[in-house]
Structure formats: structure tokens, C-alpha cells
Symmetry: C2
Subunit: 211 residues, 2 copies
């Protein structure tokens, strides 16, 4: 087993779709559609802005993706609704097994996230998770899966033998392309992304893959 583990945050430790309930409160019956579209656009904007060389922090990208999504779904997004939904991102739920799995797992543990410090720091604090480091792409102004992002984790942790853990297949494969040992937490039974690489191990939860 590697001596250090680096975890993706959104979708891996924290359930981005735990915003569905609040979306449904605001627009009954629309929660799932809004949450899915919001996540899709959020990621698209990170890739497009990175390629355009027009980085903006994840908090801004997330807010802009929400505005786009509400317009597409014809949901009226006032300042109050926008504030409430952005606040949800500071209190996302961890997946059920995450707190115990991290406690049981030996070695150093860190987060490597797209989240800008204004989003990820309150979230980690609220979660109570104990981590040795929280690293954000914001230091580099480029998003995953650029190799510079994974390189930053390797150089900050001063560790070559790193296990990288993500539920986002493209993120896991970006880390594999860089050179990490990679664990794909495939919670939803998704197909493997065709990006020229394969994860070293695949399972449906942190427990199954790491413990």
C-alpha cells in the first residue's frame, strides 16, 4: 500500500448531490435535474476556462454554473435562492463510510481539490475530517486533470508513492496519466471513461478499495 493517500473532495468524500433537498425545497420536483445540470456545467466550465487560460476560482465557476442551469431549467434564481444554494456547498454531507474509513486508514492523508480556499476550507472544517493537508488547484490557476495539479500534490507531500483516490473517473485517469497509483471509487456503476488509462483498483466505496 502507498505511504500517503490523496483524496479528491467533491463527489469522492463529499456528496455534491446532497444539495438536491434544498433545490427541491425551492423548486419542488426539480431538485435532481438542477443538481445534475449544475454539476455538469460546473465541471465543463473548469475545463473550458483552463483551456482558455481564463481561470476563475471554483466559487465563481460554481455560482456561474448555477446561474446557467437555472436559466436553462427556467427556474427564477434571486439573490436569496442563490445564496442559499451556494451556502449548501459549504455544508455538503460526506458519504456515509468516509469518516470511519479515513480514521482506520494508516499513512498520511490529504485532499487535492478544484475547490478554492473560500469553499473547501469551511467545508472541511464543518465535516470534522482530520487531514494532513488540503491542497487547492487555486494555487496554480488551472483545473484538473492538468498534470501540474497532480505534480503539486507530489511535490508538496514530498512523497513518490502516492495513492490517489477519486470517484470522478476522468480525475482518477488524469492522476494515472501523471503517474500515481489510482483508486477509482465507482459509487454509481458508471462505465470506465475512455481516456487511454485504467485505474489500478476499482470499487464501490472507500472501504472496499482501501481497507
Amino acid at each position: 500500500m502507498p505511504h500517503a493517500f490523496v483524496f479528491d473532495a467533491y463527489g469522492t468524500l463529499f456528496d455534491v448531490h446532497s444539495v438536491i433537498a434544498r433545490c427541491d425545497q425551492l423548486w419542488p420536483g426539480k431538485g435532481t435535474a438542477l443538481s445534475q445540470l449544475w454539476r455538469t456545467k460546473q465541471l465543463e466550465y473548469t475545463w473550458q476556462r483552463s483551456l482558455m487560460k481564463r481561470y476563475a476560482p471554483f466559487s465563481q465557476v460554481t455560482r456561474e454554473a448555477l446561474q446557467y442551469s437555472c436559466e436553462l431549467l427556467k427556474l427564477t434564481l434571486g439573490a436569496k435562492e442563490e445564496g442559499a444554494l451556494m451556502d449548501e456547498y459549504l455544508n455538503l454531507k460526506t458519504y456515509p463510510e468516509v469518516p470511519e474509513a479515513l480514521k482506520k486508514l494508516g499513512g498520511r492523508k490529504a485532499i487535492l481539490t478544484n475547490g478554492s480556499p473560500d469553499m473547501i476550507e469551511p467545508l472541511v472544517r464543518a465535516s470534522g475530517l482530520q487531514l494532513d493537508a488540503v491542497m487547492s488547484v487555486d494555487a496554480l490557476k488551472v483545473y484538473k486533470p492538468a498534470p501540474a495539479v497532480y505534480e503539486m500534490a507530489a511535490s508538496r507531500l514530498k512523497e513518490k508513492d502516492i495513492g490517489f483516490v477519486s470517484s470522478n473517473c476522468w480525475d482518477a485517469l488524469g492522476a494515472k496519466s501523471f503517474g500515481f497509483t489510482v483508486y477509482w471509487i465507482n459509487r454509481g456503476g458508471a462505465p470506465l471513461d475512455r481516456l487511454g488509462f485504467r485505474p489500478d483498483k476499482i470499487g464501490t466505496s472507500l472501504n472496499e478499495v482501501l481497507l
Copy 2:
């Protein structure tokens, strides 16, 4: 008006969803879902591979996106079905107004496309469209909206005053970020993407925007 016009191909001149009929022949009732997912994954893979610095030609990316999409939708994709659907991409229909609009429009006209030569050259030939140049990102091994792509068009055409025309909002905004005058053909009434730029002109067809 600009002296030269550069057009995106897929989604702008050629309707990528003209594959729906063939999809529906193969898997009745699944055509629209497959076509939409196929297009979404195709674009995601172009962005992810570009960021990973693992370029593969658009023909490969398109085939891999098809394989992923069929697996997700639980459609059995044999060699025969895969070949038939990939062939459709060499015979996509132009949007109805395109042939006449290009004839009427003055100035030099070129295509700037993600499509690799093995895909775009047969397609343009089959369409009968008359163009002064067909430029592919394949020469650069990076996909839109990287600024290097738009720069290539400017330098090959030796023209500063270029009008860039795309139905893909993120592509139009990538070109705007680079510095082109930009025309967004918003055929489906989509919201404006929030990427920090606005097109110079928006309309629902080439005729409305250019003639």
C-alpha cells in the same frame, strides 16, 4: 463586416444530431438519448485529453465517446453498429440554410474544426460546400477553446479582422477571449454560457446573423 469568416463545423454548419435516425434504426426509441450523450462525452473527452496533454485525434475520441455512451445506455455495440455510426459522421447533414448562406456571403470563408482530417475532409467533400481553407486542431494536438487554435486560424489566413461563427457558445467565447469578432448561432435558444465574455452578435441562423 469582417473580410474573412471562420466557421466551426460540428453543430454550426453540420448537424451532429443527424445521426439520430441511424441510432433509432439500430436501437428503436434510443436515438435522441444516444446522440445527446455521445456528443456530450465527445466534447468532454476533447477538453479532458487536452488538459491531460494526451491528445488523440477526433476520430478516436468520437469512437471512444460512442463506446462509453452505448455502455452507459446498455446498448450492445458490435463492430457493425460502430462502423455504421462512425460512417454517419462522414455524411452529416448541413443545417438547411447553410449552403445558400455561404454562397451569398462575401469575403474569404474557412472552417476551423476539432475534426481530424480523416473525418472533416470526407465530410466537407460530401457536402459540396466551397471553402477557401479547412483547418484542423489536429495540426496543434490541442482542442478548442485553447487560444492556440484560434491563433492558428489568424496566422494561416494572414488576416486580423476575422469574424468567427459558431453554434457552440463555449467555442464562440473561446474565440472572443482570443480576440475575434464573434457570431453565436444560438439555434436552440440556449442560455449564454458564463465564461466571462459575450458574443458580438447572436441569432438563430446564419442568415439572421451574417446576411
